[in-house]
Symmetry: C3
Subunit: 350 residues, 3 copies
């Protein structure tokens, strides 16, 4: 965490237009309020431009519209938020992990572990599994038999990958993630549920991140598929045979039921749900706490949360929800009565 | 995974009426679209009968209504979905696990582990715990002191069972399951929460399956009880002193609050919630995302999700939810006015 | 679990007014229905006073209003529920854990582990971490580098604390808890999500309990903060840079989105959600399954769940939710028509 760069070095590496003192040395990134003179901050929305006034930051990342809003050293970028992410990555490289297999790890027969990979104490690698170059398997991880994990994966402690799952390069999986557990497949037979063996796998593309305690079930017959660049927050449940399109991002606590296909570049809010066997188009946005019960065929933004209120107001109003059909009927009747009454009153007097 | 059977052998073992070539050899089960000539497929709903046309499957499982819908070798069953489950189990037996205790497991004093059971590396078995015949305790599992687990249990890696819990035969518990953690019992005392010791256990019957990262809390005073044949999906929360009746199935992300009793053969949808201290009758179906806030005394189907819409439509409509009572009042007033107006206009002219 | 006390000893230690036989010996606490003569029970609500009649309890804890409702030996308290909690803690002390480091634990370089602390088999303590006096780190726990954990912590098996997090005294963390995983910070850049390094920590005060499989993400730039006395149930998601005020209690499956600040002494129901960047005042109560989408500036009770109904009734009524604005418009139009009609009919006849 001791990396530090001159502003000119940052601009040389990441691009952007540099204005002001190029020699200022930057050792960390911080919010406008908290930033110190050796730190760089950023403004992603001109609406908050007034906040620039009080900052003690040594330098700033700004959009074109705010290029002249300060005299502090600054880098002007088309996309200051992405630029901030890149600067932060420069300043906060991941800790270097020693390659090699800790003596407290347990390695199954025939596992192929790249010499540059790192396997931590108490991790278990199943028979015939493959771990790619520079991948880091944290403490307590359990990698099933014949699993394939690509290069530069970073599995934090206590990730489980069940047998046979296949994962691309650059996976980040946080603690408690479970990939490839059985999907919820049961059939009723004479008063008893029979288990349907889940013989598909989970197949994950490149550049996927999976948050803490998120679960992705293996397919019943075919595979569950997570395409390239998908980003999953914590505590998400992905059921069997779901397919999530590339670069879709899903916020915490969402759940996707079985056999649903989600398009590319979708944004799904926290606690949202999508029922099973649906198709969701590309570029669909789903608000938090919304249940999607039908397929969505076109891009757009969808919502279905119930608006909160003071409990006493909610009680007074929500009681009518059980009578909406009756209320609608009374409105229809009023309209009919009023129509005939108007007709009546318009009749020429005899 | 190399089991293969003649169609006649399948019918001999599982019953059903065999039509067509009894000698066709079947090595796997697959969907109608994906099936190959050495695979068997199935149709559970006559509505999709047209899909039989293109299949390359070597044989089919069909209901009586579809017995003549193809000339392919086929087995006719009253319940083709359950039949499919049984065929898949024949073709996909669980991998055989070597009995014995891995040297990397940690076994507490006085633990009774059946000689046919298997305890994996990094598993920890507490003092005085009992593990029944043919049970498999996966890597990283932690079984508390004096826990009793029956026969043929299969605990995938990283399941935790707290002290004193009692589990029947044939349990399947997926990774991340936590059985017997403390229930959420706190009492406010002069501005501070005091913890209420949770001295009950979790008691689980036979033939129960529990999905990944599901949690079942121990009872506060009495036990939390999961009866025979209950099937729980992933990421479910079962609070203290809940009782779930036999053969009830609960989909992912549902939550059951404390001291609620759920009947037998209920079906509870994904993300649904049931408040505390309620009684739910047998054979109740609860839709996804529905909060049940009152007891349900009779079998039936219940829903409470808010229907989603385009965000702009949702905004325009949902604003009225905060004024439903006022709207209802205005309808009532209109009815009164119209009534007196009608009465007026019907008065005989003087 | 063999502690037993005379009623007089309990009253001497915990206060309250003792009535009846002070010598009765109490070895456990139980519900009114289940209590045996060597057990003490309690009544927290006079409404259920009739239940006292049949109890076989050897003694009771009662409020002032019920002091004379029985002749059984009894202790009268201002707060019988808190008194019950205290008696239960007397009768059910936590099992004593042997101090010391199990040879199957893995301890990083420079870790400072108090001599009275206990580190279980398969636990991993990172380099430079600090574990305070009498703390118990369970099996399979992973404590990151430079983490600080105070005194008397009890971490049940398989808790993960990521690097650099700081935790006060008396923490209880149940199995599957993940503290300090990366927050969900991503920036879109030319069709790809870029990860924003999460360089803040999680900072947790004293006397906090965290339920099974709950996740608390580390801050993006600044810290995520859980203040003293906060109680979190199972399967809760706390996003990055959230601050939860002292003595707030949150029920299972709730989710708090990023950068939201929650006040002190709030009560948040099961499955509730709070959107990001909001301010919630002290003493706010939020009902189960409610999504809070705006800041709440004053104490009060808030609800937003949709009331459930029989599915056929729900269908008939909920269809109108998509037409509320139209219904409101029709009411408005009816009012206008009726007004002009009334004006018309009131006109003096010419």
């Amino acid at each position: 965490m001791t990396a530090s760069y001159r502003l000119s070095e940052i601009a040389a590496q990441l691009g952007g237009r540099l204005l002001g003192d190029a020699e200022v040395r930057i050792s960390q990134i911080a919010s406008l309020e908290a930033a110190q003179p050796d730190q760089i901050s950023f403004l992603t929305n001109s609406k908050y431009r007034a906040q620039l006034a009080g900052t003690r930051a040594g330098a700033l990342i700004l959009g074109e519209a705010d290029a002249d809003a300060t005299e502090l050293p600054r880098i002007i970028s088309d996309n200051p938020y992405a630029y901030f992410a890149k600067v932060s990555a420069m300043l906060n490289p991941l800790p270097v992990v020693e390659p090699g297999i800790h003596p407290g790890a347990v390695i199954g027969a025939g596992a192929k572990i790249d010499a540059t990979a790192s396997i931590a104490a108490t991790a278990v690698i199943g028979a015939g599994a493959t771990i790619g170059a520079h991948s880091v398997i944290g403490e307590g991880c359990c990698i099933g038999t014949k699993v394939v994990i690509g290069c530069r994966a970073r599995l934090y402690p206590r990730v489980v990958v069940y047998h046979g799952c296949v994962i691309g390069d650059d996976l980040i999986a946080h603690s408690g993630v479970v990939i490839g557990a059985d999907g919820f497949g049961i059939a009723m037979d004479q008063g008893h549920w029979i288990k349907i063996p889940q013989i598909g796998r989970v197949v994950i593309g490149n550049d996927v991140e999976i948050g803490a305690n998120t679960t992705i079930d293996r397919g019943a017959l075919d595979d569950t598929v997570i395409e390239d660049g998908v980003k999953l927050d914590n505590q998400i449940q992905i059921a069997h045979n779901v397919r999530i399109g590339a670069h879709t991002a899903i916020a915490g606590c969402a759940g996707i039921a079985g056999s649903t296909t989600i398009g590319r570049y979708c944004l799904i809010g926290g606690g949202a749900g999508i029922s099973g066997h649906l198709q969701i188009a590309d570029h669909v946005e789903i608000a938090a706490f919304t249940l999607i019960g039908k397929s969505i065929r076109e891009a757009g933004s969808f919502t279905g949360a119930f608006p909160f209120a003071k409990t006493e107001d909610w009680r007074r109003n929500s009681v009518h929800l059980r009578h909406l059909d009756e209320l609608a009927g009374r409105i229809r009747k009023l309209e009919q009565q009023l129509n005939s009454l108007s007709a009546e009153s318009l009749k020429p007097e005899s």
